[in-house]
């Protein structure tokens, strides 16, 4: 009996994954548990194990192929079992929706193992993996295609600035320039060099372009020309945590995400106190040269956003705070340190479950994927150090009540009623004109647990703010 090898869901909001490398060639024997292939999502690269022992055949998702979650990527036949010409499942008509991505910019090292795949495999994959209609190849001009081809760039990773998101040559030029700029330096700490000179730094995820600057900033152009949204994540999170909210907000506006220092793709820095962390974020915000922005922050990022709004009041059209820090002394310091300490999914998962109103929402896969983006011990150490400085003895060591009181822009505070990390009653310290939205069935991460509800509040806020600024 042939075993179907499917693309697993390793991420809560994952819809598809890129098969980035095969470790076993078609026709070769494989044992259950062997590393079979690698996938990449927006968040991480991950090794997938063989679900059965036998002979690997019918690789219908060759390297560089984007495959929807749950679709077959290959088959494993039991030793001695006859291998049919075509993959089971009726061939082309029921072929999985696998889309060969154009010339991907994969690391050569990763692809090495399968460079000599038998020709048969390729033929089979062509015959049985028709291009999925729902994910057409990127819209790009001939000039952009030629430039990308020459530079070895994957167009699927670019954001087009032309009509209907068409990628034009200038978009490719910008990407090439961004790649050529030196990796962000980490002036203070001696150790980060090792981390930032990884042989294969994660490229900006599909649909996001990267901007030069001290902190990692990623932005995605919107269809419309509305005021952009700037998102600031919380402690031990990173820009990818916004994915559910981004989806709920739609792509009408440009979205700009900042990775805080010692987080995500930003450099590791020696941070003395909250002001030091905020200063870097303000610099990153200034570097965006925006004429106006809607600022949204979660938890520690809420405190940072409040600081930016306080310092740059004329640029801020509205401030949206999701379970913001800095409005009271209480905080679940154990969870913060637990997350920052965890070196494997087993120790991370229990703490992550404390973030959500429904612990079951944090699946094992979710914890594993979260751990994959936290594999860097130096980053974890930097975050532990940061936690000790910002939240000494499990107490919020900074108070932004005064700063928030000075914010005159339209202001909404969103809090989960079941928040176990920061008590929602801190919201009562917001100024008169703040609107408060207490979401049921939400813990400390309402933007992940209830993204639609958060998006609705924020969209209302943006509308009110823009009407006010016009009036």
């Amino acid at each position: 009996m042939a075993t179907e090898v499917i693309l697993p869901k390793v991420d809560m909001d994952m819809e598809s994954g890129l098969v980035s490398a095969w470790h076993i060639a078609a026709g070769s024997p494989v044992s259950k548990g062997d590393a079979l292939f690698d996938i990449e999502t927006d968040k991480a690269a991950m090794e997938i194990e063989a679900p059965a022992s036998g002979i690997l055949a019918h690789i219908i998702a060759p390297e560089g192929t984007k495959v929807p979650v749950g679709n077959a990527v290959a088959w494993i036949y039991a030793e001695g079992e006859a291998i049919p010409e075509a993959a089971p499942g009726g061939g082309a008509t029921e072929a999985p929706k696998a889309e060969p991505a154009p010339a991907t910019a994969q690391a050569p090292g990763k692809c090495g193992t399968v460079a000599s795949q038998p020709a048969l495999t390729e033929a089979a994959s062509r015959a049985e993996a028709p291009e999925a209609l729902d994910e057409p190849r990127p819209r790009a001009t001939p000039a952009a295609r030629a430039a990308a081809r020459q530079a070895g760039l994957d167009l699927a990773r670019l954001v087009g600035s032309g009509p209907q998101g068409r990628i034009q040559s200038e978009d490719v030029a910008r990407e090439i320039e961004a790649r050529q700029r030196p990796a962000p330096a980490a002036p203070a700490a001696p150790e980060p060099a090792a981390r930032r000179s990884d042989p294969e730094p994660l490229a900006a995820p599909a649909g996001w372009s990267e901007r030069p600057g001290d902190l990692a900033v990623t932005r995605r152009k919107g269809q419309g020309s509305g005021t952009p949204i700037v998102l600031v994540h919380g402690f031990a999170a990173d820009a990818t945590g916004w994915a559910p909210l981004e989806k709920a907000l739609g792509n009408a506006r440009e979205i700009i995400r900042v990775d805080l220092a010692c987080h995500g793709r930003s450099p590791l820095k020696k941070i003395e106190n909250f002001a030091g962390l905020a200063r870097l974020a303000v610099q990153a915000f200034d570097g965006l040269n925006l004429e106006a922005a809607h600022l949204v922050g979660h938890s520690l990022g809420g405190a940072i956003a409040t600081t930016i709004a306080d310092i740059r009041p004329r640029l801020i059209r509205s401030l949206g705070l999701i379970a913001p820090a800095g409005l009271g002394p209480e905080i679940d310091g154990d969870t913060l340190m637990g997350i920052a300490r965890a070196s494997r999914a087993e120790s991370l998962a229990p703490w992550l479950k404390r973030l959500a109103a429904d612990p079951d929402a944090i699946s094992w896969d979710f914890a594993q994927a979260a751990m994959l983006s936290r594999m860097d011990e130096e980053m974890r150490a930097a975050q532990r150090d940061l936690a000790e400085r910002l939240f000494p003895d499990g107490t919020q060591g900074f108070d932004l009540t005064g700063a928030l009181g000075r914010v005159e822009a339209p202001l909404r505070v969103i809090w989960g009623r079941q928040d176990a990390i920061l008590p929602w009653r801190h919201a009562l310290r917001a100024p008169d004109h703040a609107g408060l939205h207490l979401l049921d069935k939400a813990g400390h991460i309402p933007h992940i647990e209830r993204p639609e509800a958060c998006a609705k509040v924020l969209r209302d806020l943006f509308g009110v703010a823009e009407a006010a600024s016009r009036g």
Partner: protein, 339 residues
């Protein structure tokens, strides 16, 4: 126009487009006795648009021959005269009436050299007043360049300046095969510097009338002037337009257009003939097939005549073919990457 390329040692005078054509014909009549002019009312009347003017007085009715009101008959005689050793220049009153003479132009003049294995040739020039803008309505305002451009064996020219009107007509006369020259009626009064003496403008060679970085406009005849006017306006907005004067519809100067599109990555074709299956279609396809394809950074645009006969109403007549503001708007959109 064309000032930067003019050789200061060559004497020029200001002549109108019509005067430049007349000068060319007069020089040809004086220099080569095989040259004759034929056409309806080109003698005493001086031509429907007064292009032949006083030539009948200078060269006599034998060499400046009025023909009866039969385009087919007149064109047939001209083909026969060319086949038997003369160098006729045949004028149609309006290019629209050339439809009556298609048999002679397409089936006879264009085919003879091929069908007789190169034993014979038809050195004949057809002059065709063309285009809209004179209030002459549907049967007197058409632009048939693409029609004739579709016929192997013909060469098809569209001068846009007095200098080229003379130079291309003399080049057509020197050519051993039939050449159709479309003269835009609105250009007859256009003045410009015209060199003295005998000179030819090469057939099949476009002219870059304005250099620019941001996009290329390929235009012909009066559209060259409209494109230049649009380019001037756009320059104030910082949009740098290159304008190419096609000059020759058949053969088309691939090299110049390809080089320009490789530079700018954006192309608009502007022509007065009906947009569909027109000159712009040919240029667009030529670019798509060329090495310039990989340099295209936006779709190619075509501005051409509407899919209707030219109306009599003057406002509708203007609206039926590209005007400078139309070109300006299209180029602005293309330059701003809104296309």
């Amino acid at each position: 126009m064309n000032a930067p390329t003019r050789n200061p040692e060559i004497q020029t005078r200001e002549l109108s487009y019509a005067e430049a054509i007349r000068e060319a014909m007069g020089m040809a009549l004086a220099r080569d006795e095989r040259v004759i002019l034929m056409g309806e009312d080109i003698g005493v009347y001086g031509g429907a648009f007064q292009v032949t003017g006083d030539l009948v007085e200078r060269f006599g009715p034998d060499r400046v021959r009025d023909t009866p009101i039969s385009e087919l008959g007149g064109a047939g005689v001209a083909v026969g005269a060319a086949l038997t050793g003369l160098r006729p220049i045949f004028e149609f009153q309006f290019s629209d009436f050339a439809t009556l003479a298609m048999e002679q132009i397409v089936n006879q003049a264009a085919k003879m050299r091929y069908m007789l294995g190169g034993e014979a040739s038809v050195p004949l020039v057809f002059r065709m007043p063309a285009g809209s803008g004179t209030g002459a309505a549907a049967q007197h305002s058409q632009s048939f360049e693409a029609w004739f451009g579709h016929v192997p064996g013909l060469k098809v020219l569209q001068p846009s300046t007095p200098e080229d009107a003379k130079g291309l007509l003399l080049a057509a006369l020197e050519d051993p095969d039939p050449v159709v020259v479309f003269e835009h009626k609105l250009l007859y009064k256009l003045k410009g510097h015209v060199p003295d003496g005998w000179y030819t403008t090469p057939i099949g060679k476009a002219a870059v009338r304005r250099e620019g970085r941001d996009l290329t406009i390929v235009a012909s005849a009066i559209m060259v002037h409209r494109a230049l006017a649009a380019a001037e306006k756009l320059a104030e907005e910082g949009i740098d337009v290159e304008v190419i004067d096609l000059r020759s519809v058949r053969p088309i100067d691939h090299e110049t257009i390809i080089a320009s599109v490789r530079k700018t990555g954006r192309l608009i074709c502007v022509y007065e003939g009906v947009r569909t299956l027109g000159i712009g279609a040919e240029i667009s396809a030529m670019i798509a097939e060329s090495e310039a394809f990989d340099y295209l950074d936006a779709p190619i645009l075509r501005l051409g005549g509407v899919e209707a006969p030219i109306p009599y109403n003057p406002e509708l007549e203007k609206a039926a073919v590209p005007q400078a503001p139309d070109i300006e708007a299209a180029a602005r959109k293309l330059a701003r990457k809104e296309v």
